[in-house]
Amino acid sequence: MSNSATAQNLPSTPATSFVASRRFWLVVAAIVIAFLPAVFTDSYWRTNLIVCAINVLLAIGLDFVLGYAGQLNLGQSAFYGIGAYASTLLITQLGVPFWIAFIAGILLAGIAGVFLSMFAVRLRGHYLAIASLGFAVITYQVLLNWISLTQGPLGIYGIAPPPPIAIPGLPVIGFSNLANLFYLTAGFAFVVYLLLDQLVRSPVGETLTAIREDEVSAASLGVNGQKWKIFAFAVSSAVAGAGGCFYASFVGTLVPDAFFITESFSILAMVIVGGMGTLIGPVLGAVLLTVLPELLRGIGDLRLIVYGISVTLVVLFMPGGMVQAGRLIVERLQRRGREGTAS
């Protein structure tokens, strides 16, 4: 899990300039989010923007447990599905208001994460991967076969978008409008990113990376590894649950196949291609791996081959993902700059 790439993710430079630029980049990101729907005006690309935002949520959630706590969790598709089905069923069956169902979906996915990790924390590496994959398979089968509740493969149709938000004195914000729905999901993803970023730059981040690097050693410093791994799982699955709630209300249709185990691997690919153990990496990975297949649509089925080859190349030659690639380029430019001024 920990490879040579993670070493390069560390701030070896003094932290002050780093912090100053962090604020700057967050503002840039907020501005980019604000202008994206104005740039992409057709509904096809706006739809992709929303899918990007949901995938960003799933990827940063997975990265928290995988990149920081070092736990290879392949159950993310299950937590995604639990969030989606739980919130939708609460709304359609019990008439619960959207935002309460939204919070309930997040909580239920988080509780499912705690449930899985309470059994799985004793396992490590491959064993944890298998156990969490098993959980994803079971969840998928339940969604598929509990027909009285989920309507199985027939699916649930006609799920309403989030209710309009009416702030007095302002025009009503409706979410059947794709641009507004994008602002809602991307805004939520942005806030989750900020919170996770704060968390990993606190002693919580130190504790989780200590567990990732050497659990026995961490215990010798007073770290209760089981407790913290359960915490990381809970956060990770709750974030995936939020992604599921948005997915259901955005697509309007739920079928179990959307939460098949291959979804876990797609999310894993986003984290790895972007660069795990950093938060910005999975964001970039999620955007790239969502947009790339769409851009390649022109070449037909060949796009799957191109997609597969590019993911493989990244894993082979750039184990730290896009973040590592970016760092190498910046370093090279700086070196060239220094050589330029020297001569």
Binding site: A7, S202, P203, V204, E206, T209
Partner: protein, 259 residues
């Protein structure tokens, strides 16, 4: 040094077997507070197993153990740290991908005094805590001679430096009892000399040090009490002078080593 002091760690009849091998057989010890207590013995004598029993990596098959009056049997290692027991490892277990400073900062895990919500919304208590931890971590690095190396990755340190970093990281937990497993292994003469000075300095600050060590010069110079083990068993316990002259010890250990 003093024998009349408070007994910090008290163990009786400790036993631990792995399969058919009895690694520790009926070991009892009383470690006085503020002393350097060395455990010596040939390879495979059960010294590291004894240390693992005291730090909680293993639980004993039989026996009692208390630390400052608190029962340690059944207590997991991460809880023992909260009572003031810290350790280093014979086979170095640093967080190799993290920087030297981050390794020490991880050692402050049990000492943060920050309301939980401030981990998410960094407030004044969070910033105070971070400043305090950083400056104390740098002090600890200065103590072990690694302040200049604070920002390199731990894996890139030399072997001797890695051993010192493990000590700094353990000290970050603010222990009363520091257990160091072969701290001088792989160190050159200059580094051993520096290590000796640091152990003496820790004792001067009233810390209790338990040391498993093969370097006899080091042990004889600074240990207040020495426990000699052989084949998992108690062989002798006493001051360095007693140990050096005891015929059993010479036969079992020093004699064997002289060959």
């Amino acid at each position: 040094m003093s024998n009349g002091g408070e007994i910090l760690l008290h163990a009786e009849g400790l036993r631990k077997s792995f399969g058919g091998v009895q690694a520790v057989r009926d070991i009892s010890l009383r470690i006085p507070a503020g002393t350097v207590f060395a455990v010596i013995g040939p390879n495979g004598a059960g010294k590291s197993t004894l240390l693992n029993l005291m730090s909680g990596i293993y639980q004993p098959d039989a026996g009692n153990m208390t630390f400052a009056g608190i029962d340690l049997v059944g207590m997991p290692s991460h809880r023992r740290v909260r009572h003031g027991i810290a350790r280093t490892f014979q086979k170095i277990r640093l967080f190799k991908q993290l920087s030297v400073l981050e390794n020490v900062l991880a050692g402050f895990h049990i000492r943060h005094e920050v309301p939980l919500w401030q981990y998410v919304l960094h407030g004044p208590a969070f910033r105070r805590d971070r400043e305090h931890c950083r400056s104390e971590a740098l002090d600890l690095l200065a103590f072990v001679g690694l302040k200049q190396r604070a920002h390199v990755t731990a894996g890139s340190l030399s072997y001797g430096e890695q051993r010192m970093l493990e000590i700094a990281r353990a000290l970050a937990t603010a222990p009363r009892l520091l257990m160091i497993d072969e701290p001088a292994a792989g160190l050159n003469a200059v580094e051993v000399e520096a290590l000796l000075g640091r152990i003496v300095a820790l004792r001067a600050r009233d810390m209790t040090v338990v040391m498993v060590e093969h370097n006899m010069d080091l042990v004889m110079q600074i240990a207040d009490r020495i426990l000699v083990m052989d084949y998992g068993q108690y062989l002798f316990e006493g001051t360095p002078a007693d140990v050096q002259t005891h015929p059993d010890v010479i036969a079992a250990y020093l004699g064997a080593e002289a060959k």
